[in-house]
Symmetry: C2
Amino acid sequence: MGKEEKTFIEFLRRTGQKVTRARCLVLEEVYRHHDHFDAEALYQRLEKRRAGVSRATVYRTLSLLDRSGLVRKMDLGEARSLYEHVLGHPHHDHLICVSCGRIFEFEHPGIEEIQNQICAQHGFEMHSHTQQIFGRCRDCRAGRSPAETS
Amino acid sequence: MGKEEKTFIEFLRRTGQKVTRARCLVLEEVYRHHDHFDAEALYQRLEKRRAGVSRATVYRTLSLLDRSGLVRKMDLGEARSLYEHVLGHPHHDHLICVSCGRIFEFEHPGIEEIQNQICAQHGFEMHSHTQQIFGRCRDCRAGRSPAETS
DNA sequence: TCGTATATTGCGACTCCCTGTCAATTTGAA
DNA sequence: TTCAAATTGACAGGGAGTCGCAATATACGA
């Protein structure tokens, strides 16, 4: 049993919720890949493996995983939310290419520091934060971006 | 005629679009208030004044205003997008209280600098960026928050 | 000022992404 | 094993935003 399963089970126990087959299958599928995904894509992957988990349960479990801290929900201004799993990924923020849609990650310790300053100034107790930079990636600028739709 | 109208008209001309009654009314209403608002609320305000502008046109015009740089669309992870007008508001980012829902603004020159560094490192050409800090505001922490829904 | 090509509008139906309802099923503590 | 309570799947429902289209408004050139 991986660390993520332990954490999830512990979270469910702690919050008086049950460890079910469906929840475990969703968690497992989330951790099978290492990229950003949306709820529908995750549901499709589960369908392909005949996991027998409904769309509603996928949404419900993602919400649970977000609250447990195992998964981070991201909102990039698109209609659908994206998710990424957290274990083994230090906190980071995102560069989003408006041309090819790819998402790049970055981290910078100075940002955290500034955020702490700002919170202190405002008497704010920080729970989470996000930072997104939209623009054009190196490949798109060089005109060698992979074919895309956006 | 205010600066925002001049800018808007110039934008429309430049991009081969027409200056219409509906667009002017929407812009005017956007600049009548100085807080964050969503498309539906703006539409309701226009209704109250019998502006006779349809919801579809409100959405279409907000998109235009966003593209023209007069209005900034913000996505806070809620169902509906928020907007804020830009003229007279230097660039800033947001602290969002998860308890009372209020939005506070902050700015910090160091952030811009770090973002430029990061873009340089990744060969990224920045178009825009957003930064959001979620947490509890001073009032809510002190237990004297105004009544709210969230 | 007038006529005309073209952009825009309002309407309402529609899409998309979820979320709520509820009967049937599963879980897990005793 | 028993059983109350939590969860699930199926599908209807909801909210925000978008689209198609006929009617209308805009603005360019004469």
